[in-house]
Amino acid sequence: MSSGKQTLIVYLVIGLMIGFGLGFITPGLIPETQVDQVAVIQARGTLIVGTEAGFPPYEMYNTTSGEYYGFDIDIAQLIADDLGVDLVIEDMAFDTLVAACKAGTVDMIAAAMFLTADRAKELAFSVPYFISNEVMVVNGSNALEIDNLADLVGQDVGVQTGTVEHDEIQAEIDDGTAIILHTYASVAQMFIDLNSGILDAVYIDEPVYDVYAELYILRTIYKVAAPATVLYCRWNNPGLLTVIDDVITTAFADGTMTTLVETWFG
């Protein structure tokens, strides 16, 4: 092969890479128009909700019936009912949820997702529907005690990729604390690894810890209030956001929310 042809190939390859990248970014250069997402959803007949279904008791998968269930699923169902459409759950890795919602794969995220400034820049968020804590979990036999995250020096800590807990540990590492971070897509695998000794600690939402505490002998060594839990949807469809907010407010007003919280967290 001549060197001229080789150069040509190199240019073409780079061109292809940039080309198929730009091809998808370009739509972002066009000013966004407001979309009546409610009409789209009602025409389609389904509300597509993104979640990560390995997060009890918020969202789980029933291996017998093949259905998704949990606190968030029930709330999503309330919204689907209000819209008069069927609920469709798209289960995906937690760290891809925001991108998937932005790209339009899902209409809404219901994944025990906390409200953060970074996420709010990307997606529109509902009124809070739940408040919980973040807890650092160790094995029952582990004598480790900490006062703050900086005391975790030299510890193997597991988090789910893309969670606020992940952010906090990463920020702690960036500040110079020598924490050994393990990131997981699957919370179930994370607890198995905690149990088998690969991890020293797991940093996770308190309600999830409560569920796993029934399976394993666990202990919390650190607790901090978590940001509010909200639902997310795209910015450019105020109609859908209004419906979501209305459903949550109504659920608080008529006692539905209290029942749900008691059912799943009681």
Binding site: I25, P31, E32, D95, D118, D156, D167, A178, G197, I198
Partner: protein, 252 residues
Amino acid sequence: MTGSGNIHGFTLLQYGLVSYFDELAQSFLITMELYIVGLVLGFSIGLTFAIMRQYGGRIFSRIATAYIEVIRGTPLITQVLIIYALPVAINMSGIASLPLDWYYYYLDSQGRIAITLNWPILSSMIGLGINSAAYQAEYLRGAFASITTGQLQAATSIGMTRWQSIRHVVLPQGLRRAIPAWSNEAAYLPKYTVVAIWVGVMEFLNMAKTVVAKTFLSVEVYLIVALTFFVLITLVSRFLEYIHNRTKIPGV
């Protein structure tokens, strides 16, 4: 695509992806570590099985064939997960309590711990090694098989033992002949190091996911990852081609 009306193409600079360069570079070292150890391990195991399959007699040849077929017939992901889960299962069953939170590290320029080896990384390396071994064994065996029996007979005729003739006649010729096909396997192995993400190793793609989780620049970051792997594989491929051309022997 945000409410504040950002032009997506410029967010790359605005968010300062550049500030994650250190983390990404460090995780890239893990990827390279996985690649090199996997390749070397794969070559050692692969060479052993190639010799066993070609010259091992009935039993050893059967064993080698079974190994190669089973590994080639199952996904790398489950292979790594099985290796990873073996001691985990032992610990969970309560039979023994294997220490799995050991690690080797060095301190980087900011004094942060940079992990070089722990159980997730080691199990990924072993997984990559035994997987690659099956493919490398097939390429090596193909090269050995292409050496005529005349060469072996000639070796026997001057009184060499079977092992001597393999060591001094088959290997020098066979390894050289295997280079083109072997290079292909060697050049494309970096792609498969991302399997380590399944067991939580902070390799390149996993760090990229962490950056995405903070910046939400998913398209940009994944494009950078894609481009990095593409450039890496192209460079390795070119390098091996260059080595091959430099070490040619006429008639071999």
